[in-house]
Structure formats: structure tokens, C-alpha cells
Amino acid sequence: MSDMKLFTSDEKPTWCPACGDFGILASLKQAFAGLDLSPHDVLLVSGIGCGSKMPYYMRANGYDALHGRAVPVATGARLGNHDLRIVVISGDGDGYGIGGNHFMHVIRRNPDLTHVVQNNQVYGLTKGQYSPTSDKGYISGTSPDGAIEMQINPIALAMASGATFVSRGFAGDPKHLTQLLMKAVRHRGYALVDVLQPCVTYNKVNTYDWYRGRVYKIDDESGYDPSDYDAAWGRAKEWEERIPIGVIYQEEGRPTYEEQVPELQAGPLFRQPVERPRELLESIKREFI
């Protein structure tokens, strides 16, 4: 267990007071400390959005990439240096909207990444347009009569895509979220942590109270076995009345992507020498003759 303060940055978050992102930041630092990590072990890769500013506010390696594109950058970084603990930070628009294809495909690969999606059911940083997780009928500047689209269910999508760790947290319960994040980081393989994150400025529907009235801790249910796919699938679909938080599904033992890449068995790729032996290259040249 390292000291959480190690991860404290000098930078003051620019989030709105009471934004759910504060809870996520605190939980993430606590989780890293709980896992006895140091700032240089960790790389946060984020997209663009309110929550994606997270790397600025934490003392750790950070790469704030493009809107929707944190996942492929993180995948490349993980394969480049698999000693790093990589946490992907994205918003619901970022991760499920514009970044939806990477979401689907990273799951098929199962690299050892923790993917935290700050799901506030709205586009925060661009001032409140509806997002892929906004409720049907959600009213915003781009949906003045209410959104027509069905909202997506990231938990079900992750499960249908074959994810090995599918979970949900709540920014309003940082203690639980900390525990959840620790489990996610410990999981070997891709781990989704969809975090219900109240946007106090724009989302006047899905507020702290709205979530509080619905969430329940699935881990508390005696007999709930996250390795039971069918049971998990049943919970994956819950939303309107009751919303499970915790590890909904986990499959252990599936090899990670990097474990299956032969080039990485000798150690992190970036450590492997840049100069290749002259004889090797000359012998390859001879293949052309």
C-alpha cells in the first residue's frame, strides 16, 4: 500500500463543483495506492471531454489523446511497454459514441487495460448535447424535442463482445468505486468500469439522487457469482428501476493479448535493442537473391 498523496498533482481540477469526476479521481488515486503502485508505474491514457482531463489532475504518466481514441493509443502503449499499468479514461461520448468501434474491438483482443468510462449520459465539455447513453427523450440543444435514439447499454455490449471483466461503479460511492477499481486493475485482461457520474451542470435528469435511488451493490448479494455468464446477462439488462454496481461479470484465465504476442516474451518491446545484428540483416537480404 503506497501513499495516495504520491498521486496528487499540483493542478487544481477545472471541473464544476460537485461534479462526479472528483469522486472518480479520488477513488482512482486510492486504488493505485491500495495496489501499492507508484506514479511512474502508471500511465493514464484519456480521450477528450470533461472527465478525460483526469491525467492533468493526477501525478502519474499521462497521455491525453484525441476524442474517442484513448483505447488504441493505450493498446499500443501496453504492447510497447507491458510493465506499465495502463488505465484508459474516457467519457460516454468518447468511449461509446465516437470511440465505439475501438471499444468493441479492444474487447476481442483482451489486452490488460483498465477502461474507466465516466458515464454522465451527456456530452459535458461541449455543453450538454445528448450522448449515446442519454435516455430516450432526453432534451438538449441537439435534441430539442427529446432524443429519438435508444440509449446504449454498455454492460450488455461488453458482454456480447466477449469482455472478461465487466463492471459498473458510481461516482457518488467512492469507497465502493475504489474497491472496484482495484479489482479491475488486478484483473488480467481488458476490464470495463462504467462509472455513473453525475454531471451537475447539464444532466438534470440523471442526478446523484436519481442514481442513489437505483443503484445496488451486486457484490453484496449472497450467492451472486460473477463468473456465471447467464446470471450476469440478466443483471446486465437492469436499468430503469434497479441498477447493479460492482463486478457484473468476470472470466478469469483467458490469456491477454500481450501474452499471445511472441515478440513480447523476451520482455517489454521498447527494451529490445534498436540495432539489429548485421548478419541477420545480411541473411535476410540474401533471401531476395
Partner: protein, 590 residues
């Protein structure tokens, strides 16, 4: 019949449907010719379909170092009637067409043109000697070898190599039997009358290689350990070559869900310190441009190959063009340093392949290698020493070593403002260097910025890198007399045909030189002014519609090149074609 015999200077053209083996036979024959010590230039032409249609493989064999195809064909090897229809007019008088006896073509049409119909029962021989009529293309090639007096051993050797292993042995034997019979018939019946011959030369063994392999090999020599990509003609073979060698090279090859992911994974890997690249074409390149800006802003070293093809949009997916130059120079929103290499020969492809990684790391920016369909697929036999591994230097620029990081006492600033514009780089993982960077404009420490002064400092810091990079860029290559009457200007793969055109024009008594751009950005302004500023008559030669290099030259120097030879039909130039157009154009207007 033909009294004068031309030795070691002829063009074969084999054509047929996709799936008939044109590509493999052409490649095999090229190899045999190279083994015989000849220079070989082999051009492939195929359609955007997997079976049927019309493909061809045109092989030019010479005792000179030919680097382009020519319009004349001496021996046509059609596997179907369509090949005759399409290409008979290219066969020179005295030339011949090797046809399976039953092929439905009126021999009189050939004879009218002074072209010999060479009728050999190719399928029958294949069936009889090899037990498989699919071996008829082997038979066709063997007839050509026989007619040109090329010693049979070269054919035999290649067949043996192509079918290794125990089971291969039998197939090899069958093919050799087919080849032998066809060779003998070709030599006996048609050799005496055929005026073009192959005489093996003493030469060091040559490599037969295309531009994509040369780039890939260059990357391997540079220590590239990562290529992520999404399949796209004509770039895919770079990855496929590296993938085939991944065990030897210890290189990670990664097919992604799309090109956006491909470039971003490469950026992620590069950020950790891996030499990383991606390769694409056309639409794939378009999808990458947002991330090109990310690499520019975060100062991540990155190598991007754009193997250009005929556009716009999907265009002619298997055909040639050089029309992405300005796009590469200006792609992605905003302004940031980039480097653009435009190799025009196999050797330059190799050099670009390794130099790109040095430039990327030294200047911490995206580096483009622009190649094109023609160069990606056309093979040439070259001296292995032309890939001079001794000259390959690994320069990682200001990359901090572990020792330097151990000694670090101040907080590490990823985007430190320096007079060169280059900020010493570290990779994540060291306790003394916590690294923060972002696509947002940032302070030296990587925190996002809103204030003007820090923005200005970073913008100028980044752009300053181009000044240093400019001194690292190889100036355009001048060939021919300095005080020429005529100057031919080109870039990338037009090198070969222009080079040949220059020689042909010179032989015609014209004082002509050639200015070839193989590294175009940062633009070699001073060298351009020196080479073109006082030139008498300049002709710009490009495989595009608008004359993009000429536009860039004018933009950077004011020098206007009104004379242009532009070709945008999806086919590369030949040297003689350029000569014709020069003569009809600028020279006719004297």
C-alpha cells in the same frame, strides 16, 4: 531470318486472367533472368478483382541498369486471347507472340504487323509432360527462354527453388519436364528466326525486390519493432513482408479494426519508446490525418507510409498515381512540423525506410514516406551492396538514457522550450520522469494551457524544429550537365522513366538534365533556386492532374514551370513516352 541480333535488351510481357498465374510466372522468370546476370525491371498491372479480367507482368531485361518499363514489347506471352487484343499493338516488328496452339487468334493479324506467331501446344505439353494443364504457363515461359537462347539451367534452378521440400520435389520435376520440352521446341523451331537473345553475364548475384520490400527492409534495418495497419492496396505488402519475417526480426505486426486505430496504436507504441510505423493508401491515409496532428502536437515520433494510388476516393484501387503530395504537406488541422520523403528508386526506398525513423526521433514529429502503386509493386534486380547496411546509422535524437534519467534532479518537462525546438525526450516508466503530454496546447510540463505566452512559446518551439530538420533533408538529385538546355523535374517513382528519357534525349543530342526530388519537406528551397532558378527550359513531369510538385515549387520559390507533362490514367510513364511528349511539347514549340 533476322540478320542483326540484339543481345540482352528486350521486353517480355505475359498476360492473362487474374488467377492464371501471371504474377508467379512473371516473378519466376524475372528471377531466372536476374540469376543470368541481367538487369531486370518487372512491372505488374492488375485489376481490382481476384479472378478473371486482365492482368499482365512486363519484364524488361537489359545489360544496362534499367529502372523503368519501355513501350516496346519483343515477346508477348498471352495466356488468353484478351492479352493479344490488348497488347498486340505494342509488339515491335520482328517480335513474336507465344501462343498455345488452339488459342483463337488469327495469325494473319500478327503477320501483317511483322510479328511472328509462335504456335506451341503449351497445354498439351503441360498435360503430357507434367500431368497438369495448369503448367502451361511454365511451358510458355520456357518457350521464351528457348527462343532467346537463355540457358535452360536458369529456368530449372528457379523451378527447383520455388518447389522446395519432399512433396515439392515431384511438382518441381513435373514442371521441369514441361519446361524442358517447351524450351527445346522454342529453341529449335523459333529460336533461329528470333532476333533478341539473352546471353548470361558475369555479375554479382542481384536481389530482385520491389519498393515495398525495400521500405520494409529499411525499416527493419532501422530497428522498427512495430507496424500496425489495416489492409489496403498497394501498402499491404509492407506489413505482409514484415509479418512473414516477424520471428527473425522480433517485430510486432498488428492488423487493426481500421486505419484510425492503426495509426493510434503506432503512436501509443512510439510513446513508450518503440520505433513504430503504419502503412496505408488513399482512404486509409485520409482516416489517419486527425492522428497525424496528434503526433505533431504531442511530439511523438511516427513513420507513416502512404503508398499512393489513383484517386480521388476509391478511384482505381490497383492503379498508379502521385496525387497525395499536397495532401501530405497540409493534412490535419492546424500547423505543425512534418517531414516528407518521396523516394523514387528501390535504393531510395530502402534509404527512406531507415532514415524516416531517425528523422522521426530526432525531430519528434510525423515522417511520411510517399511511395506509389508503381514503386510498391514493380521489381528490379539490384546489387545487394546498394542496400548499404554500413551506412545505416541509428540516431535516436535527444532520447534520454536510463543513466541520464537517473541523474535527473529537476522535474522532467516533456515539452521544454529549447533553442533548437527539440525537447529532450523520455519514455514513461522511470521514477525521475513522470511524463505528461496532451493534444491540447500545453505548458512545458504537459499541462493544458489557455494563456497566450505559453501557447506562442510552444508553437514557435515546435515550428523551430523544421529549421534544423531542413539541414538534414537531402537536396534534390541533379543528373546531367549543369548548363543544360532542358531540365526535367520530377519526384518519387518518376525517377526511373525520367532518367531513361534523359539518356534517350541525350543520345538525340539534346543537352538535358534531371532534377529529382526524393525528400521534399522541409522544402529544399535554396537547392531548388540553385538548380532551377537559372534553368533555360524546365519541364515538370508528374503522375497527377494538377502538377503538385510544380505548385509546391512555385509556392516556396516563386519559380513557375509552365511546361508540364502530366499523366493521370493510372499507368506509370515509360521513358520513351516522356521523350515523345517532350518532343511534341516543349521542343516542338522552339
Amino acid at each position: 531470318m533476322s540478320s542483326s541480333v540484339v543481345v540482352n535488351n528486350l521486353t517480355f510481357k505475359m498476360g492473362g486472367e487474374a488467377g492464371q498465374g501471371v504474377e508467379s510466372s512473371g516473378a519466376g522468370f524475372s528471377k531466372a533472368l536476374a540469376r543470368a546476370g541481367l538487369h531486370v525491371y518487372g512491372l505488374q498491372d492488375y485489376m481490382s478483382r481476384i479472378r478473371g479480367g486482365h492482368n499482365f507482368f512486363q519484364i524488361r531485361a537489359s545489360d544496362r541498369n534499367v529502372q523503368a518499363t519501355e513501350s516496346a514489347v519483343h515477346l508477348l506471352l498471352p495466356l488468353d486471347t484478351l492479352t493479344v487484343e490488348e497488347h498486340l499493338q505494342e509488339v515491335v516488328p520482328g517480335g513474336a507472340v507465344i501462343m498455345d496452339t488452339p488459342l483463337k487468334i488469327d495469325d494473319a493479324r500478327l503477320l501483317d504487323r511483322g510479328v511472328s506467331p509462335v504456335r506451341v501446344p503449351l497445354t498439351e505439353i503441360a498435360q503430357r509432360e507434367g500431368g497438369n494443364k495448369l503448367m502451361m504457363n511454365t511451358a510458355s515461359v520456357a518457350v521464351a527462354a528457348g527462343m532467346t537462347d537463355m540457358p535452360f539451367e536458369f529456368i530449372e534452378q528457379i523451378i527447383r527453388e520455388n518447389f522446395g521440400g519432399r512433396k515439392g520435389q515431384m511438382i518441381a520435376d513435373a514442371n521441369i519436364a514441361v519446361a524442358r520440352a517447351a524450351y527445346d521446341e522454342g529453341a529449335r523451331e523459333f529460336g533461329p528466326d528470333f532476333g533478341w537473345k539473352i546471353k548470361p553475364l558475369q555479375a554479382k548475384p542481384r536481389m530482385l525486390i520491389h519498393g515495398n520490400q525495400a521500405i520494409a527492409f529499411g525499416a527493419a534495418a532501422a530497428g522498427c519493432r512495430w507496424i500496425s495497419m489495416y489492409p489496403m492496396t498497394p501498402a499491404t505488402s509492407i506489413t505482409e513482408w514484415l509479418a512473414a519475417h516477424h520471428k527473425k526480426l522480433g517485430i510486432v505486426t498488428k492488423e487493426c479494426e481500421d486505419e484510425i486505430s492503426a495509426i493510434l496504436m503506432a503512436i501509443g507504441a512510439a510513446h513508450t519508446g518503440v520505433r513504430a510505423m503504419t502503412a496505408t493508401s488513399g482512404g486509409g491515409f485520409s482516416l489517419m490525418v486527425e492522428a497525424v496532428g496528434l503526433a505533431g502536437m504531442t511530439e511523438t515520433p511516427l513513420v507513416i507510409v502512404d503508398a499512393q494510388r489513383a484517386g480521388p476516393s476509391t478511384g482505381l484501387p490497383t492503379r498508379h498515381e502521385q496525387s497525395d503530395l499536397q495532401f501530405a504537406l497540409h493534412c490535419s488541422q492546424g500547423e505543425f512540423p512534418r517531414i516528407v520523403l518521396t523516394p523514387g528508386t528501390i535504393e531510395e526506398c530502402f534509404n527512406a525506410g531507415w532514415r524516416a525513423f531517425n528523422l522521426a526521433e530526432k525531430y519528434q514529429c510525423p515522417v511520411f514516406i510517399l511511395t506509389d502503386m508503381n514503386q510498391s509493386t514493380a521489381i528490379r534486380a539490384i546489387d545487394p551492396d546498394a542496400f548499404d547496411l554500413g551506412s545505416v546509422q541509428i540516431e535516436r535524437g535527444e532520447l534520454l538514457t536510463d543513466e541520464e534519467l537517473d541523474a535527473l534532479t529537476e522535474p522532467y518537462l516533456r515539452h521544454k522550450v529549447t533553442s533548437s525546438g527539440i525537447s529532450p525526450r523520455a519514455v514513461p516508466g522511470h521514477p525521475n520522469a513522470i511524463i505528461l503530454t496532451t493534444s491540447d496546447e500545453h505548458y512545458e510540463n504537459g499541462q493544458a494551457v489557455e494563456e497566450a505566452p505559453a501557447r506562442i512559446a510552444q508553437m514557435e518551439k515546435r515550428m523551430r524544429k523544421l529549421q534544423l530538420a531542413a539541414s538534414d533533408i537531402r537536396p534534390p538529385l541533379p543528373e546531367g550537365p549543369e548548363d543544360a538546355d532542358l531540365t526535367l523535374v520530377g519526384w518519387g517513382s518518376t525517377y526511373g522513366p525520367i532518367h531513361e528519357a534523359r539518356q534517350l534525349l541525350e543520345a538525340d543530342g539534346i543537352r538535358v538534365n534531371h532534377v529529382h526530388y526524393h525528400e521534399v519537406w522541409p522544402f529544399p528551397t535554396a537547392a531548388t533556386e540553385a538548380l532551377l532558378g537559372g534553368a533555360r527550359r524546365v519541364v515538370d513531369i508528374e503522375n497527377n492532374y494538377t502538377g503538385q510538385l510544380a505548385l509546391v515549387i512555385r509556392m516556396m520559390t516563386g519559380i513557375n514551370i509552365p511546361n508540364k507533362i502530366l499523366k493521370y490514367d493510372g499507368r506509370p510513364f515509360t521513358g520513351d513516352e516522356i521523350v515523345r511528349k517532350v518532343q511534341e511539347g516543349v521542343l516542338a514549340r522552339v
